[in-house]
């Protein structure tokens, strides 16, 4: 606010200032929201302050956080992936039906799932980028096709849970870990994937992906292959859904409704994390933090004791407020700041009134 001058100052601001300022952006404010929600949850449920309970809680939010990270790649590149829930459901059913009680089948089936995930992403990407079908239609289409195939293959209900050794990855963890006490495997998977994703975003791939979401024409003219960047984002998204499916089979077991609402949750998390839906702006870690914050919020609702028939409405309202309130503020400022680069506008001109 004080420094529209800083446009002309090329030296980066001190770290402290940058961090503080970032809290006033949607991508930074989510950490404050998360901290506040966590404190509230721990007040309602003091047991959660114990490290092993907290780890279990993070463990159960790992699938949705991973899905949010996958969706982040697609959204930041300027597209949208609505096929995640269908991919998760299909993979969950696949794992249940193909592995069954035969532990020897785990590896081949997991490889098949990864191959299938990559293939779905590739199809989504190619239809969107090369055939120029808007991504929300294209991914909705693949989502329907996948659900249809799952329905056809299972007749609507899968046969049962796969062998327990396969489910361990989503259900068990390292016992007797120093300080933490218990470390679920799913937390380890989440950490590894987040580090991998963060690394990818700092590589030329990540940088040009954001550029492609910001301005595809300029990115294309600079020599990058926009269609291949976006297609890879779709592949990463489907692979993230696949990993989430593996964790969910472990955590919850096989059911055709596993994965329901995950694409909505992922998109909500990414937007709540301050990532622009039009692409080109936003932080990966904020999207992951937002996914976690949403889960904390839902858990908080059950501790506060909202009646079951009201809970979905309350969840929806809170999400709308959380998404809407900051956006209103930002838009207004974006508008009022739009006419030129005033040093410090003393009073709004009549023209500004009209434009706002």
């Amino acid at each position: 606010m004080t420094t529209s001058i800083s446009r002309y100052n090329t030296a980066p601001l001190p770290m402290r200032v940058r961090v503080l300022r970032s809290f006033a952006t949607p991508g930074g404010a989510i950490y404050l929201l998360l901290a506040a929600l966590l404190i509230a949850l721990i007040l309602y449920n003091p047991g959660l302050a114990a490290p092993d309970q907290l780890m279990r809680f993070i463990g159960r939010t790992a699938p949705v956080a991973i899905v949010a990270a996958g969706q982040y790649f697609v959204i930041v590149s300027g597209e949208l992936d609505l096929s995640m829930a269908a991919v998760i459901a299909a993979q969950v059913v696949l794992a249940g039906n193909l592995i069954g009680q035969n532990a020897a089948r785990i590896l081949p089936v997991v490889l098949l799932m990864i191959g299938l995930g990559a293939a779905v992403g590739l199809v989504n990407g190619v239809i969107t980028t090369l055939l120029k079908v808007p991504s929300f239609i294209a991914t909705l289409g693949t989502s329907l096709a996948i659900s249809g195939l799952t329905f056809y293959a299972t007749g609507g209900a899968p046969s049962g849970n796969p062998v327990n050794s396969f489910r361990a990855i989503g259900r068990d963890g390292f016992e007797n870990v120093p300080i933490l006490g218990f470390l679920p495997y799913s937390v380890v998977v989440l950490m590894a994937l987040v580090v991998l994703a963060a690394w990818l975003m700092r590589k030329p791939f990540g940088r040009t992906l954001i550029a492609a979401g910001d301005n595809p024409v300029a990115t294309s003219l600079s020599g990058a292959s926009v269609w291949w960047l976006r297609t890879r984002a779709f592949i990463l998204s489907s692979l993230a859904s696949t990993v989430a499916a593996v964790l969910l089979v472990g955590y919850a077991g096989v059911s055709p409704v596993v994965g329901d609402g995950y694409d909505f949750a992922a998109i909500t998390a990414v937007v709540l994390g301050g990532v622009a839906l039009s692409g080109g702006r936003g932080w990966l870690m904020s999207a992951v933090a937002a996914a976690f914050a949403l889960e904390v919020l839902f858990s908080l609702l059950s501790f506060v004791g909202v009646a079951s028939t009201w809970r979905p409405a309350v969840q929806g309202a809170i999400i709308l407020v959380a998404l809407g309130a900051p956006l209103i503020r930002w838009r207004r400022r974006a508008f009022s700041a739009s006419p030129g680069i005033p040093v410090a506008s003393p009073a709004p001109s009549p023209g500004e009134e009209v434009s706002a």
């Binding site: 952006t25 049962g160 059911s255």
Partner: protein, 419 residues
């Protein structure tokens, strides 16, 4: 989101500004959200760690119908006519249908409008029904069965029934309604053809049908398992009720009856609607475990029970009472883990009875107009025998499938390939 150039080209300008001009208002906005999240949705002022204030809405459930409750409560323990070894042919004495108008020479074609095959109970019944069909075809009573699956949609089912009527080569209609009220007009049109109309499972919202085949009912289902909970939990005990979906009569009737019994027994019940999503069930139960000891978990559907049991295992707690249904997944978990269980039953063999009722009309045999089949819950005493009798069956199988004396037993049910 789209690749349209002008839109994205306009984006970055706005974006840059946003980053530069941070302000307290945003942080204020976020704080407001948090306050809203914490206070706005809390009914009453509820401090940390306090007991939950909501125990549903006692006795204000619009689905509760005392007459129906009393009727099903009586029928649960009624005397059934017929051989107990063939429960799918047993019935409660009452008005009989005169079969004379429907008596036929030679094999006849049956048209079946099915609400859905979207759960394991329906799939199990569907397999049994198809094996029964083969027998009746072999006997030359039924020539074939044309089936349309409405996939849980009222609209589709109405269209399916009208299709059958228009096709005009059905000698009988079997209808498993998706929702009673919505399909009533279509069922009425089927009745108007003068052909026999056999309704089974959920009601049809009319009484024009020739016969309505069903086991005792959803309220009896709820009464059975809720009574077990009430008998085994002291007054004031903490019960978690897992409900599948609001507004679906099957589940609402089970819940309405159970809620009535819990209220009378003075139990503290918190109910959740989970969509039978195991992820939600586990999160819900895990949070409830953190709030304090749970005396019982009551469920309205088999699929909800096993995830609930696993939540206690994962939290390292003893498994309390967890009720369920006669699906093998639940029965096996109950046997393996040795907790206190109880399996309500909604008899899957009624799928077979619907077809048999049709055949009996063609043969000119009288059948009860309201054909109430027995539904006998599985208790601790029967558990080992029931699990042993269903050895080799998949987890999605139901012990009340009623196909033990049909051809293809047991392999057809073991392979569980949808016909």
């Amino acid at each position: 989101m789209t690749t349209s150039v002008p839109a994205t080209a306009a984006g970055p300008k706005k974006g840059k500004k946003v980053h530069q001009i941070g302000s307290k208002t945003t942080t204020f906005g976020v704080a407001a959200i948090v306050i809203l999240a914490l206070s706005g949705c809390a009914p009453g002022s509820n401090t940390a760690g306090a007991a939950q204030p909501d125990s549903g809405t006692p006795t204000a459930n619009s689905w509760f119908d005392q007459t129906q409750f009393d009727l099903e409560n009586a029928e649960r323990t009624a005397t059934f006519t017929g051989d107990p070894s063939t429960p799918y042919l047993q019935y409660i004495e009452g008005e009989m249908v005169d079969p004379a108008p429907f008596k036929a020479d030679g094999p006849k074609k049956v048209c079946f409008s099915n609400a859905a095959l979207s759960n394991t109970w329906r799939q199990t019944g569907w397999i049994t029904m198809n094996q029964q069909l083969k027998v009746l075809q072999g006997q030359g009573i039924i020539s074939g069965m044309e089936t349309r699956n409405a996939q849980d949609s009222d609209d589709t089912q109405v269209a399916d029934i009208d299709y059958f009527i228009k096709e005009n080569n059905c000698d009988a209609f079997i209808i498993a309604p998706n929702s009673p009220q919505a399909t009533a007009p279509a069922v009425q049109r089927a009745c108007d053809t003068g052909k026999p109309v056999i309704i089974f499972d959920r009601g049809a919202g009319t009484d024009c049908e020739t016969v309505f085949v069903h086991s005792v009912g959803g309220m009896a289902w709820g009464i059975d398992s809720a009574t077990f909970v009430a008998d085994n939990v002291a007054k004031g005990g903490r019960v978690i009720a897992l409900r599948t979906a609001p507004g679906v009569d099957v589940f609402e009737q089970r819940w309405a009856a159970a809620q009535h019994i819990f209220d009378k027994a003075g139990l503290k019940v918190t109910d959740y609607i989970t969509g039978a999503d195991p992820t939600k069930i586990k999160s819900t139960i895990t949070d409830e475990i953190a709030k304090g000891d749970i005396d019982a978990v009551w469920v309205d559907l088999a699929d909800q029970a096993v995830p609930a049991v696993e939540s206690f295992e994962d939290a390292g707690k003893d498994i309390p009472i967890v009720t369920g249904e006669d699906s093998l997944a639940y029965l096996r978990a109950w046997q393996d883990k040795g907790f206190k269980g109880f399996a309500s039953v909604y008899s899957a063999f009624q799928w077979r009875t619907a077809l048999l009722a049709t055949a009996m009309l063609f043969e000119g045999k009288p059948i009860p107009k309201d054909w109430v089949l027995p539904q006998v819950p599985v208790t601790k005493d029967d558990l080992d025998a029931v699990v042993a009798a269903n050895k080799g069956m998949p987890d999605g199988h139901y012990s009340s499938f009623g196909g033990e004396n049909l051809p293809g037993f047991p392999t057809v049910w073991q392979n569980r390939t949808m016909p």
